[in-house]
């Protein structure tokens, strides 16, 4: 059965896509829609749903915890530029013919490999006020740094450890692969022209991997908004106070600790909007790259 034009391949593509689409419809699309509906109700997660209109949203807007969660998420977003710069910088370094660069790349990948749960638990012990890092600091003459017990520092601990350090490992592999595609002759020309290290980095390397960097930034946004939960849960439980309470974590607390699923869905709706915006950004990037 040959169609012309757009449908040249008949139903074969749809058959190939069927498993994916069925799974997505059942496990993602349906829950997202149900979640939006639930945000207008009062519900325990089981049993009856009671329609309450906009009251969840009104409560959310007057909830201090909500605004704190937004500002905490914003602070984490501020770590994305730092993460990008450091990752690109180190990746470029490793390309300079350093001996054993593969070993460095492999070892630095380990934090990412171990996963957020293990890293979260490890650091929850390591960063304690009476933990090893503080012991080192005190031994070197400093005073206790309250990595996890000061809200202003705690959120930055998360930014540094998860956004910068853990992603460094994955970023190295990603950017090194991207940089591999750059034409070597440009570098030789730059060397002949007498360009120094940083000049080459900024004028040659970075522009050549522009798309890779853009996708990395979008990927980082996704990580900050939607993939921090396991890490925060094992590290600080959103504390101290509301110090590391992000939007994603708030959804968890309302829905799974207080069993106010309707209220939690209102928070989800806000997160949904952020995710939708990021998604559109990503799609735009893809279109530009394909054009």
């Amino acid at each position: 059965m040959r169609h012309r034009g757009l449908d040249r391949d008949g139903i074969a593509p749809y058959l190939f896509l069927a498993p994916l689409l069925v799974l997505l419809a059942a496990f993602i699309l349906y829950p997202v829609i149900m979640n939006l509906i639930a945000s207008f109700t009062e519900w325990k997660g089981y049993g009856a749903m009671k329609w309450t209109g906009l009251s969840n949203y009104r409560a959310m807007v007057s909830d201090q915890a909500f605004w704190t969660s937004i500002s905490n998420t914003a602070i984490l977003v501020c770590y994305i530029p730092l993460s990008t710069i450091i990752t690109v910088f180190v990746a470029a370094l490793l390309r300079e013919g350093i001996r054993g660069w593969q070993a460095y790349r492999a070892i630095l990948y380990i934090p990412n490999l171990l996963g957020p749960v293990i890293i979260g638990v490890v650091f929850s012990i390591y960063l304690r006020d009476d933990g090893s890092l503080n012991l080192l600091i005190k031994w070197a003459g400093g005073s206790t740094v309250r990595f996890l017990s000061s809200p202003s520092i705690a959120i930055n601990s998360i930014g540094l450890v998860q956004v910068v350090w853990v992603h460094l490992g994955f970023g190295l592999i990603y950017f090194l692969a991207a940089m591999n595609g750059i034409d070597q002759s440009i570098y030789e020309a730059a060397l002949i022209d007498g360009a120094g290290y940083f000049q080459t980095l900024w004028r040659v390397t970075v522009p050549s991997i522009r798309f890779a960097i853009e996708f990395w930034v979008v990927f980082s946004f996704i990580e900050v908004f939607a993939r921090m939960f396991s890490y925060i849960y094992t590290l600080t439980r959103g504390g101290p106070g509301y110090g590391t309470f992000t939007l994603e974590y708030g959804i968890f607390v309302q829905g799974f600790e207080k069993f106010r699923v309707g209220y939690s869905s209102a928070w989800s709706a806000v997160l949904f909007i952020f995710c939708a915006v990021i998604s559109v950004m990503q799609i735009r990037l893809m279109r530009r790259r394909n054009s």
Binding site: G45, D129, T144, G241
Partner: protein, 427 residues
């Protein structure tokens, strides 16, 4: 060829995973019966051994019954799993619960156990019966049978008191005595109050609240008593003083209370510790490690203008067992819960763990534990109910976050704290 082998692989994978660890509990109606019990204390560092003993005894007395005792994680994951079970309308026959808001929140999946305990009801303290009845109202359906009662107080290391030049038999019960004791301990190089997370402050505040309001603590629920009361303010500022003067071990707030904090005090790293009466971190845990005659206890700190003194804050029921509505063996499940909370079962449990049973027929352990004797005297003489568990689900989490902000990070002023704390009740 490749295509066929890939298809085969997928089919095999699907079948294998389907047969994998299938299902939760299923009790067959004829022949041998399996009762599934969910518990967050069925671990070696907690109550595993005594529970195994009690289960074996129960199986002995009920031939044909097998107990499938499942160790589930503690709060808050525990209740997430319960919620998931409620959503699926299937799960265990019996589950452990914290009476109070937690229990009431899940009331519609729990069976009314009142008819099953008519014959033993008067063995339990009135406070415990009240707490396990829905919404704390006497006469309402009893959905959980109480296994322990709970409470908080201050333990101290008598040896360290001696070292610091304090009289080990004189508990520093007044505010002035307490501060002086802290100062002396600090001067002797001993950490005055060993800390574990915000729980230390949380529990201490509750002992002070009990002392501030005495038997009227219940008024917090209906608004006849408010946190704006000057005695509460005094309590808050007292704790703040403890933090500011460094008497509360500042580095201990990131140390998990359960296990690490407790081990820390038991290893002798502090002069005093705000501990529990039941569960872990109690008179037995400390007496066994520090020496039964080395552990002192007093329930709270008395302020000069307190109307009440030495109030022992206690919860009628700390933990208990409930029977789930979907259980196909409700009678047997109720018998199981009853077995743990009365008679031989309760006795074994209390004896092994140091948990205090709300069943008045379960006694006799004070002989070797002076600290327990002291506690019981206070319970008899000046008990004040802890109303925190009666507030909504997740209240303790919110309260602790506020305590963090007030005492540990200093983000709130006393006024702000009191306003926010009061607001929590009406949420």
């Amino acid at each position: 060829m490749i295509r066929r082998s890939i298809l085969c692989l997928i089919l095999v994978a699907a079948c294998a995973s389907f047969g994998f660890a299938n299902g939760t509990s299923e009790a067959s109606s004829q022949g041998p019966v399996t009762l599934t019990v969910w518990d967050f204390k069925y671990i070696p560092t907690d109550s595993l051994k005594p529970m195994q003993e009690i289960d074996a005894l129960f199986q002995q007395k009920n031939p044909g019954v097998t107990i499938n005792h499942v160790a589930q994680p503690g709060e808050p994951q525990y209740y997430q799993i319960i919620q998931a079970a409620a959503t699926a309308n299937q799960g265990p026959d019996v589950a452990m619960f914290h009476p109070g808001a937690r229990e009431y929140g899940f009331g519609d999946i729990l069976v009314d156990l009142t008819p099953y305990i008519q014959d033993v009801k008067n063995q339990f303290t009135a406070a415990s019966i009240a707490m396990v009845s829905m919404d704390g109202k006497v006469g309402a359906p009893i959905k959980v049978l109480p296994m322990t009662m709970q409470g908080f107080g201050i333990y101290y290391n008598k040896d360290y008191f001696k070292k610091a030049g304090l009289d080990p038999e004189q508990a520093p019960k007044t505010a002035a005595q307490f501060l002086a004791a802290c100062e002396k301990l600090k001067a002797a190089g001993i950490v005055p109050i060993a800390v574990g997370q915000t729980y230390t402050i949380d529990f201490l505040l509750r002992t002070l609240v009990a002392n501030a309001f005495g038997p009227n603590v219940a008024g917090l629920k209906d608004g006849s008593v408010k946190y704006t009361d000057p005695l509460f303010r005094e309590s808050v500022e007292f704790i703040k003083t403890l933090v500011d003067k460094g008497y509360l071990e500042k580095d201990g707030f990131t140390r998990p209370y359960f296990m690490d904090g407790i081990n820390n005090f038991a290893a002798g790293n502090g002069g005093m510790f705000v501990g529990l009466l039941s569960d872990v971190g109690n008179w037995k845990a400390f007496s066994d490690k520090l020496g039964a005659n080395n552990v002192g206890y007093f329930p709270t700190i008395n302020f000069p203008d307190s109307k009440y003194t030495d109030q022992q804050v206690a919860q009628g029921a700390g933990i208990g067992y409930g029977v789930m509505k979907w259980s196909k063996n409700q009678k047997l499940a109720a018998a199981y819960a009853k077995f743990y909370t009365t008679g031989e079962g309760a006795r074994i449990y209390a004896g092994a763990t140091g948990a205090m049973s709300p069943n008045t027929a379960v006694t006799g352990f004070e002989a070797n534990y002076p600290a327990l004797k002291t506690i019981q005297q206070y319970l008899k003489g000046s008990l004040a109910l802890d109303y925190l568990p009666m507030f909504y689900n997740g209240y303790e989490d919110d309260a602790n976050r506020l305590c963090d902000q007030m005492f540990i990070t200093g983000q709130l002023t006393t006024d702000q704290f009191i306003t926010e704390y009061q607001k929590l009740i009406t949420k």
